[in-house]
């Protein structure tokens, strides 16, 4: 198993270092520790849980997901599209008198408008969720099988290498605490992780 010591002794191991993972046994411990990691201003960190834990988003400093805006716009689009299509086929393209109703029989168009609103809103919500989550995730395997079972973890991530002359990236990185393997390991031990180890980015399978 790779340890921080191993990683340091083999700096040119094939897999890129993803960061340091610290394991916890309970969500309450995880939330406390996450608050401290957030306050320490690491650039890349994330937590892993087998189920969504209340209070962890705030502890991690995550902003509210923007998915509802997408849902709303998609829903409006669906409703409008449904109405316009029905109107065009019934009153413009080939108007037929059906059941004695006027060509623009808008009350009869309402059920389909409602259904297409819901359909577009729902499908766009799921698509947005997949896009924001980067699903399907083909780049990185899960770090530990226990994370989907009963273990909770914080990852302090190793940053991607940046060019010296990429000013924007250098400036952005300077706002955060610099990642250093042993220091991050010690930090996680200090905030109460039961087990800490270096993890590497392995492919999807």
């Amino acid at each position: 198993m790779a340890t921080p010591e191993n990683a340091m002794r083999n700096p040119d191991s094939e897999l890129p270092l993803a960061g340091v993972l610290g394991f916890f046994d309970r969500p309450s411990e995880l939330i406390e520790a996450t608050t401290k990691v957030r306050d320490a201003r690491y650039q890349y960190f994330d937590t892993f849980t087998p189920f969504p834990v209340h209070g962890l988003e705030a502890a991690q400093g995550l902003k509210r997901s923007p998915i509802p805006y997408i849902t709303f716009i998609a829903g409006l689009t669906g409703g409008l599209l449904a109405f316009l299509f029905q109107y065009w086929t019934s009153a413009v393209d080939w108007p037929l008198i059906v059941g004695g109703k006027p060509f623009n029989s808008w009350p009869a168009f309402i059920p389909i408008c409602f259904e297409l609103t819901v359909l577009f809103a729902g499908l766009s919500t799921v698509a947005a969720m997949f896009i924001f989550n980067g699903l399907p995730n083909v780049r990185r395997k899960a770090f530990d099988p226990g994370l989907t079972r009963d273990r909770f973890a914080i990852l302090i991530g190793a940053p991607l290498p940046i060019e010296e002359d990429d000013e924007e990236a250098v400036r952005r990185a300077s706002r955060f605490k610099k990642f250093e393997l042993t220091e991050a390991t010690e930090f996680l031990r200090r905030v109460g992780a039961k087990e800490v180890r270096a993890v590497f980015s392995e492919g999807w399978f």
Binding site: P52, L123, L147
Partner: protein
């Protein structure tokens, strides 16, 4: 003189356990994922074989029907709609309970839904798949179904009739199927990741890796996931109400007495929830027995479902009373006749099955002992579904076979083709449900973990081959 509640009285309330048996988090994975890692039992094969046999028999009959025409059914004029439409409404109705459990109970923050929502949503999807068979085959020429139902530009320059409830059904049930499928799949992703992480066999691991879309449990992902889940629940709630409303419009938008009534939308929706919950009870009683899931689908869960069955049954009973009252109070002789005919005419037997199964029999759930008794609730859930099938039969045939002109009156007798294809629809439904039980986790593991009261104590030793798993906390 009132007595004041003391501090100790107030402090006595303990919320009931949603998961019994002193389980820890790892147990949830073991208990729920282990059955799908074993070769299926003989029971499963027998059930699957029966379902497959029933379906193939019906497929054969349906093939004969397509070759020979709809005349092999009991349809006639005026009863142009018969068992197929009854089955359509029946199966769509059954699907509604799944969405209610997933979406509406979620919005009401009822944590007990986590034990049953996965299976209930699966039931919804398969019920809607079964229901969708019927509008297609009842045309007699299903190869034209796409022409007639889907609005696409064609060389006939014809569009579908958007003013018809039959077309509203296409969009409503189609949307319902799509959103239910998507909601169910999104909920499955973390659980499929759990199954993937337990997989030893590389083929199995590959399949579940692909299905779980590489889910890693990252909280950034959970945050978007929770938002999407909540939005889907919020969308599904009005959707489920609208879908059976639109199905009821198939009848209510017509001019037939007994059909043309504004009570149909709420009446149909309440009836759908009623029959759907009965089907969930039937399925969960069997599933929890065969898969050893009594600690997750407890008697408390089943009791709550029975209470909902009784409530919606009484709503349906109230709707019956309203219909009879309005038939008399309206002074409309045709309306009054329809209801007299239902009770005393040639289909009186169907009306009485419906009344006793839907109104009388569920009253037994007033008694707590009955609500918590497995044999009683299983039998009652079967009766409720029989009653609800006959309710749709009474509505359809009762409205059609004796309408305005007595010279057009005829009796409707379903033929062997009708009954055979009806039985085949149950076969089709159970094929899919049994496959679901075999390959996918039956209970929402991640959601159950989030509602367990105390999952962090030392693991309990369990007998048998799982002992090692319990001791180490993982496989």
């Amino acid at each position: 003189m009132t007595t004041m509640a003391t501090q100790t009285d107030v402090a006595q309330y303990v919320p009931e356990a949603l998961v019994t048996g002193r389980k820890i988090l790892a147990d949830v994975n073991t208990d729920i994922a282990a059955p799908i890692e074993r070769v299926p039992s003989t029971q499963w094969w027998i059930c699957f074989g029966t379902a497959l046999g029933a379906f193939l028999m019906g497929a054969f009959l349906a093939g004969r029907m397509f070759l020979n025409g709809l005349g092999v059914l009991g349809l006639n004029q005026p009863a142009g709609w018969g068992c197929f439409i009854v089955n359509f409404v029946f199966w769509v109705g059954i699907g509604h309970a799944g969405t209610l459990i997933s979406a509406i109970l979620f919005l009401f923050r009822q944590k007990w839904r986590t034990g049953i929502n996965r299976a209930a949503e699966a039931m919804t999807i398969f019920a809607v798949m079964t229901a969708l068979l019927f509008p297609v085959i009842h045309t007699g020429r299903p190869w034209y179904a796409a022409f007639w139902l889907l609005p696409y530009p064609n060389q006939r320059h014809l569009w579908v009739n958007f003013r018809s409830p039959l077309l509203w059904d296409v969009f409503a049930v189609g949307t319902y199927f799509t959103i239910s499928l998507v909601f169910w799949f999104v909920g499955l992703i973390p659980d499929l990741a759990s199954v993937r992480d337990r997989a030893k066999n590389p083929v199995r691991k590959l399949v579940y890796t692909i299905l779980s879309l590489g889910w890693r449990g990252s909280n950034k992902n959970w945050s978007h996931y929770e938002m999407a889940y909540m939005i889907l629940a919020g969308l599904s709630a009005p959707l489920v109400l609208s879908v059976h409303t639109i199905v009821s419009f198939d009848f209510a938008v017509s001019v037939l007495p007994g059909w043309h009534t504004t009570i149909f939308p709420p009446y149909f929706v309440a009836g759908a929830i009623f029959s759907g919950f009965a089907m969930v009870v039937t399925l969960m009683v069997i599933t929890r027995e065969c898969f050893g899931l009594k600690n997750y689908v407890t008697l408390n869960h089943l009791e709550k479902m029975n209470m909902i069955i009784m409530t919606t049954g009484m709503m349906v009973g109230y709707a019956y009373a309203c219909e009879f009252f309005i038939a008399w109070y309206s002074g409309n002789p045709y309306e009054a006749f329809v209801f007299r005919n239902r009770v005393f005419g040639p289909i009186w037997w169907a009306q009485w099955i419906m009344m006793s199964c839907n109104v009388l029999i569920p009253q037994i759930f007033w008694f707590k002992k009955c609500r918590r008794s497995i044999p009683i609730m299983f039998v009652i859930s079967l009766f409720v579904n029989i009653g609800m099938w006959f309710e749709r039969f009474v509505i359809t045939i009762g409205g059609l076979h004796r309408d305005f002109l007595p010279s057009s009156w005829r009796y409707y007798i379903p033929t062997g083709f009708d009954w055979g294809i009806t039985l085949a629809s149950f076969g089709w439904f159970f094929i899919w449900f049994l496959l679901f039980l075999r390959f996918l986790p039956v209970i929402a593991m991640a959601e159950v973990k989030s509602v367990m009261a105390d999952p962090f104590h030392d693991p309990q030793p369990t007998p048998g081959p799982d002992k090692e798993i319990a001791a180490h906390g993982h496989a």
